[in-house]
């Protein structure tokens, strides 16, 4: 089943092309939509909600055509905007009840669903207080609650982790994961942080300049992009532990490089993890050399890396199948060779 399908969808404004012949199919599950600012993410959501007509091409949400069934789509879809959208002088409960009624829920159901939803997003006693006094994290939860209160089949979350601290980010990402696993609601979540979405999504779609850059399942994504950062201590036996480990690794046929120009980064070894065995190899080598392993972690990729490191090819509007799970890479995605970047040399 396809939740969102677009077919050479284009949106042109007088001076800028926001979407350029975008074709993709998105299945149920959590799908990340990644793109730099101005990549066309918000424009796409607007079109998918049936609020802005496409210049050309077609799009369907939950099997309904966006051009003709906007109202029906909006009844079954939730939307959490990127910006602040909460009036400060009402309580979360009052606000969400009102929004539930705006979605067509009868008064009693609206109140019940509001209480349920606010509890699920993690707002308890404070829901009776005016929203003006909430922290950013709590406000984000209210925004999420109003998108979920009418039990949609699909939610669009526009930059839900914006402005959150690392703990808040993790909580929000966990919550988004639960929206699908526990609530059974499909999610389309946008972000400009690829690493964030890697952890949350079944599937990631990258768009840039209104074009589809790549579309693949996350397992696929992380396999090809995982860069491992390793840092070791020096010992009396090996005064330069970093160098020794690099030599040992290249002896095993693994290319390494240092972390770059930043202060302290010279002690970081970056290497490409091919799979589980790379982790084991690093661990064993470090142990054999008698070095102390300070850290070994996956490098989070900033979305900018995907754009800068990859040769910009004309991305043919290939149709990338987007079933969740470890789907085999499709011909389109492979042909684009957009994946992997520096890791696929």
């Amino acid at each position: 089943m396809t939740v969102i399908a677009t077919e050479s969808l284009s949106k042109r404004f007088p001076r800028v092309t926001a979407l350029d012949r975008l074709s993709m199919d998105i299945g149920p599950g959590v799908t990340g939509l990644v793109g730099a600012n101005g990549a066309g993410k918000s424009t796409l959501i607007k079109i998918l909600l049936g609020l802005s007509p496409a210049t050309e091409g077609r799009a369907a949400v939950l099997g309904l055509d966006v051009a003709t069934s906007g109202g029906q789509i909006r009844e079954r879809v939730g939307y959490m905007p990127e910006h602040d959208c909460l009036p400060p002088d009402v309580s979360a409960t009052e606000f969400v009840v009102h929004m539930a009624r705006m979605s067509g829920l009868p008064p009693t159901a609206a109140r019940e669903r509001t209480a349920d939803t606010l509890r699920h997003v993690g707002l308890y006693e404070e829901r009776y207080r005016p929203i003006g006094g909430y922290s950013t994290g709590m406000k984000q939860r209210v925004k999420l609650a109003q998108a979920l209160v009418h039990d949609p089949q699909l939610v669009f979350l526009d930059e839900p982790t914006n402005g959150l601290d690392p703990v808040g980010r993790d909580e929000m990402l966990g919550l988004i994961r639960r929206v699908h696993t526990d609530f059974g609601i499909s999610v389309l979540v946008t972000s400009h942080l690829l690493g964030e979405l890697e952890r949350t999504c079944d599937h990631v779609v990258v768009i840039d300049g209104g074009k589809l850059l790549r579309s693949s399942s996350t397992t696929d994504f992380t396999q090809t992009t995982t860069t491992l950062a390793v840092e070791v201590t020096d010992t009396d036996e090996h005064p330069d532990g970093t160098r020794v480990l690099r030599d040992a690794l290249s002896g095993r046929g693994i290319e390494t490089r240092t972390g770059g120009e930043l202060p302290g980064a010279g002690h970081t070894i970056l290497l490409t993890a091919e799979g589980e065995e790379t982790y084991d190899l690093v661990r064993d080598l470090v142990a054999d050399l008698g070095l102390g392993l300070v850290r070994m972690e996956q490098r989070r990729h900033h979305i900018a890396e995907v754009f800068t490191d990859e040769p910009r090819q004309e991305s043919a509007p290939g149709r990338a199948a987007a079933a969740p799970g470890p789907a085999p890479r499709t011909a389109a995605a492979t042909a684009q060779q957009t994946g992997g970047g520096r890791d696929e040399r």
Partner: protein, 293 residues
């Protein structure tokens, strides 16, 4: 899944499979929420103060008049039904200035509008609901004292037919007034997300136009050009209503020298009023085309 679903999960997610009442229901809900909001109902205690005081101030003179009429056994009420709103126009302007911005600017200022438009209702529904809510709020404010007068008049055993006719004419007049004033005030408020500007601008438009028109009318009257007086009245909301009701609703004009418009000019008045109401509605629709998501 099936084995798990037989257990009792207290905090489990429940799907909603009840009715979804759709667009018309959402529009009605928005209307009632906005109407209640105009009187501060469903909002903080602080926001109830001003509208309630203004409502009381609006009704108080009517109550006093009724008391006087009943005790002195007067043959007629001291003020016509149609004249009452003109009499207390300052209170109406204040109410409008306070409540029109809160009806529309809040949603713009806090960017709540996109949340509405990501739901089944559309631009037209939103504008219609807000327009209807503000007009109804104003109608309640202006018709309530008329009702007090009418009930009082009947208690004072004034002529039933006479009073009923006057009351009906008064209701038509304030209905027209409510639509016109709401339209103008909502358009002004919808232009600015800042509530303060909205309040100031609404008061300015209501009082300055009235002040200017009455001054020029007075000058025209002094100089004997009485023909101009009626035409000048077209340029302020309150004199427009005055003109319509003195031409068609049996009111005595508040224009200098009672020089209300004739039936011919009165038709122009009606057309201008209806045109303005339609124009305000159109302007609102245009305004919200820009503020989608």
């Amino acid at each position: 899944m099936s084995a798990e679903s037989t257990q009792i999960h207290n905090i489990g997610y429940r799907n909603y499979d009840g009715p979804r009442l759709g667009r018309a229901y959402a529009r009605r809900s928005l209307f009632s929420q906005s109407l209640r909001g105009a009187y501060g109902l469903g909002r903080s205690a602080k926001s109830k103060v001003l509208p309630m005081i203004l409502f009381a101030v609006m009704c108080l003179p009517a109550a006093i008049m009724v008391a006087v009429a009943v005790t002195t056994k007067a043959k007629d009420l001291p003020v016509d039904y149609t004249r009452y709103a003109i009499f207390l126009q300052a209170v109406i302007s204040l109410f409008l200035a306070a409540q029109a911005p809160q009806t529309v600017s809040r949603d713009l200022r806090f960017k709540t509008v996109p949340l509405y438009f990501s739901r089944p209702i559309e631009r037209g529904d939103y504008v219609l609901a807000k327009f209807a809510a503000m007009s109804s709020a104003l109608f309640v404010l202006t018709a309530a004292p008329l009702l007090v007068l009418y009930v009082g008049a009947l208690l004072a055993k004034l002529d039933f037919a006479d009073q009923t006719k006057g009351f009906a004419q008064g209701l038509v007049s304030v209905a027209l007034l409510s639509l016109l004033f709401s339209g103008i005030a909502l358009v002004i408020s919808a232009v600015t997300p800042r509530r303060g500007f909205g309040i100031a601008a609404v008061i300015a438009v209501m009082t300055i136009t009235y002040g200017a028109v009455s001054t020029v009318q007075a000058i025209a009257y002094e100089q004997g050009s009485t023909g101009a007086i009626a035409w000048l009245g077209l340029f302020s909301p309150i004199t427009l209503i005055d003109g319509v009701q003195s031409a068609f609703l049996g009111a005595t004009s508040a224009f200098p020298g009672g020089e209300g418009p004739s039936s011919g000019v009165g038709v122009v008045y009606v057309l201008v009023v209806l045109g303005l109401i339609a124009g305000c509605y159109g302007a609102m629709m245009r305004r919200y085309r820009k503020v989608g998501l």
